[in-house]
């Protein structure tokens, strides 16, 4: 074994720490605001509801993020156990179970924050806003919270078409209208509940803030295509919630933090600085949700020269600039600013030449991960890690087909790692590391295959 003094495998971004501190403040700020009588909503990280709630001066708190925070500090165990006591099967979403456990504890303590809760805890909700976006577990979970709180539960509808339907004429417009109507109904609900009117300028302000954060994050991610990649997935995850964080009435702080991060990443690109302190042997993508309890596993991989350059979850979409000056309805403006059709995404990503072919393929084959596959190509990944979660079907059920297609189209292999977002007991780091070593053989093999076939990487 070599005796050189080893640096830490990861070269973390300075700007990340500042931004992460903002997230940690979130719970404290939420608690204080609650104490002053401002209503608190528990809500999903990604979703249509957040800017609207913020525009109505509601404090938003994210149980999803809170659960991962507990897991990262290895404090989720007792909450998970409590959820089991409450009768919830162990295969349900880890975020949900930790949250149910937390809620049960809160009720037991007469609404007080449990003393064992990290980061000051989540304040008791006045409102539970779930969404039908991303997965069904979310609204079933929030419905379950009705057992613990008398706060109203609202599920904000969102269409979930499969790829083929998305490309079917008429779908996009129908779904846009659906969203607009649904959000309008939601605002009526909020106005009635809070006894005040929505100030529409504020919505423009909060939603523009959101879009600006998204744009910056997208730009940062573009920089990660550089070789060596300047920013590691761990840094991306560390601030993921800050980036999506719309809880602050003033999003400018977050915009600012992201701008600083952009500058730092740009500096690294210009100076050839990598995100890992080892030669970048393998460029990787992480598919699925993060193993919050065992993030240091990625450091062990970094030590072997694995640089995680992109990830599938929480990836910001390409910002679109469309002229909405003629749209007078603020809700419609809000929806159209963000809701993009699959067709246009394909057109932008693939260009006029390739796009029709891709669309035709989706219609013919049914499912297609073409956009995600292209991501792997754009970032020149050598391999992807598929994180198959015992407790999340939304993120796990499509992974096998994705890896099949990835190998088929771009000759990039995948490594399946079984684990979980919250539950430590489901992950075996020693075994996983052994598999990772063997997988290097596989990546080396496909590097040659790609070369022989004339791929650029």
């Amino acid at each position: 074994m070599t005796q050189e003094v080893k640096t830490r495998p990861l070269n973390r971004l300075k700007s990340m720490y500042a931004l992460r501190a903002e997230v940690d403040k979130m719970y404290q700020v939420g608690g204080e605001a609650k104490a002053k009588g401002r209503p608190v909503a528990w809500v999903m990280l990604e979703g249509w509801a957040n800017p609207i709630l913020n525009a109505m001066d509601v404090i938003t708190v994210y149980p999803e993020n809170y659960s991962s925070l507990c897991a990262a500090q290895k404090l989720a165990g007792p909450f998970l156990e409590r959820a089991e006591t409450e009768g919830y099967p162990t295969h349900l979403c880890g975020y949900a179970r930790a949250c149910v456990g937390y809620s049960a504890r809160m009720v037991e303590l007469d609404g007080q924050i449990p003393p064992e809760a990290p980061a000051g805890g989540m304040p008791r909700p006045n409102l539970l806003i779930s969404s039908a976006e991303v997965c069904d577990a979310r609204f079933k979970w929030f419905q379950s919270l009705g057992r613990y709180f008398d706060a109203p539960v609202w599920t904000l509808e969102s269409p979930s078409p499969n790829a083929r339907e998305s490309l079917t004429p008429g779908t996009y417009e129908r779904n846009t209208q659906f969203l607009i109507n649904e959000i309008r109904q939601f605002v009526v609900f909020l106005e009635k509940l809070l006894g005040k009117k929505m100030e529409w300028d504020k919505l423009d302000f909060t939603s523009d803030g959101t879009n600006e954060i998204n744009r910056l994050r997208w730009e940062i991610n573009q920089l990660r295509k550089a070789r060596p990649c300047p920013m590691h997935t761990r840094d991306f995850w560390s601030v993921m919630s800050a980036a999506l964080y719309r809880g602050a009435a003033d999003p400018t702080v977050i915009v600012d933090g992201n701008q600083k991060m952009y500058d730092e990443v740009k500096y690294r690109v210009d100076h050839g600085i990598a995100a890992i302190n080892r030669p970048e042997k393998y460029r990787m993508s992480f598919e699925g949700l993060a193993p919050w309890h065992s993030l240091s596993f990625l450091d062990d991989l970094a030590d072997r020269g694995w640089n995680f350059v992109c990830e599938s979850a929480y990836s910001p979409g390409r910002p679109v600039v469309i002229d909405l000056s003629k749209v007078s309805d603020p809700i419609e403006r809000y929806v159209r600013k963000r809701y993009r059709s699959l067709a246009s995404a394909i057109e932008i990503e693939f260009g006029p030449e390739e796009a029709p072919k891709v669309k035709e393929e989706i219609m013919r084959e049914g499912t297609s991960y073409r956009l995600r596959l292209k991501h792997i190509r754009d970032y020149q990944c050598d391999g992807v890690v598929l994180h198959v979660l015992l407790s999340c079907r939304a993120a796990s059920s499509g992974l096998s087909l994705f890896s099949d297609q990835l190998l088929d189209v771009y000759k990039v292999p995948s490594l399946i790692i079984e684990g979980d977002i919250i539950d430590t007991s489901l992950f075996n780091p020693v075994e996983s590391l052994k598999k990772a070593e063997a997988f290097e053989d596989t990546m080396d093999h496909y590097k040659k295959v790609r070369k022989n076939l004339g791929f650029e990487w």
Partner: protein, 292 residues
């Protein structure tokens, strides 16, 4: 008045237990023997032995209830009742205030919620040997220890290791790894006890833990697991002096109650013509659903 007797037989995966009581709930005999390789054929032998102890004949027994894994294979039983109900009843006899009964046997682990001496809810472990008495048997064998050794050894432990393998077979290896790495035997054994107690605690937690918590089954003879269970549940755990007997005792007591109730109501109870014949076996094809 002619004295009447009742028997309970618990045909477990590892141990066969028989209890005979009389009308006043007095324990006249109890016998525990290995179910062994002879398995189901043994029921009648254990029964004979307990009759000898009680100094009565089979014809003097009014009612026999069979319970346990092999309950369907007791030809001389009048009725079969699950070990869940029988354990609950037996445990309540020892500890009238029991609210949660935990039984860890050779084949499975069970949690039973009890109210006023009656079973009201329960949980049972799955089809995996981890978290059962077998787990300890197998690993004790690897370590060259007897089951009786395990408890006392583990009490010496000051720094138990954590055993991460779920699988019994993997645990065997993990144990060897630890020993090779210089971990003390007592710390390894304590780790095993913690692993099994943790698994069972996790399972019974679904029933909400309320005192009195009573622990029975063969594994309750192991002081190390008792301690580990107390730690994992965060409350004291009571153990009857003969933890193996609760199922058979419960069966005998239920037999007694069945008859006394029927007599009080003036009803007759159908009983089997008793012959201490050998157990008959179920055909393989109905084995799938008639097994456990």
């Amino acid at each position: 008045m002619i004295p009447i007797y009742f028997a309970g037989i618990d045909l477990g995966s590892t141990m066969t237990k028989v209890v005979i009581v009389d009308e006043s709930e007095k324990l006249l005999a109890y016998v525990v023997q290995h179910t062994g390789a002879e398995h189901r054929r043994l029921a009648n032998k254990v029964m004979e032995e307990s009759l000898r102890q009680a100094v009565i004949t089979i014809d003097e027994i009014t009612y026999v209830i069979a319970t346990g894994y092999g309950r369907i294979n007791v030809p001389f039983a009048d009725k079969q009742i699950t070990e869940l109900t029988c354990h609950a009843r037996g445990v309540a006899h020892f500890f009238p205030n029991v609210r949660l009964a935990i039984d860890i046997g050779g084949q499975d682990a069970k949690g039973m919620k009890v109210k006023n001496g009656k079973l009201i809810d329960f949980v049972m472990s799955d089809k995996c040997a981890a978290g059962t008495g077998r787990y300890l048997e197998v690993v004790a064998h690897t370590l060259g220890l007897t089951l009786e050794d395990l408890g006392p050894i583990s009490l010496k432990s000051t720094r138990k290791v954590s055993i991460s393998s779920i699988c019994t077979i993997f645990a065997q290896q993990e144990v060897s790894n630890h020993l090779s790495a210089g971990v003390l035997l007592e710390d390894v054994v304590a780790g095993l006890h913690d692993a099994i107690a943790g698994r069972v605690a996790r399972m019974v937690r679904r029933l909400k833990i309320e005192p009195d918590v009573v622990f029975t089954g063969g594994v309750a003879k192991n002081i190390g697991v008792i301690k580990a269970l107390e730690e994992n549940l965060g409350c004291p755990v009571l153990v009857p002096s003969e933890p193996l007997l609760s199922g058979a005792l419960g069966a005998a007591l239920i037999a007694r109650e069945t008859i006394l109730k029927a007599q009080a109501e003036g009803k007759s109870v159908q009983t089997t013509r008793r012959k201490l014949g050998e157990a008959t076996f179920f055909k393989q094809d109905d084995g799938i659903l008639s097994g456990n």
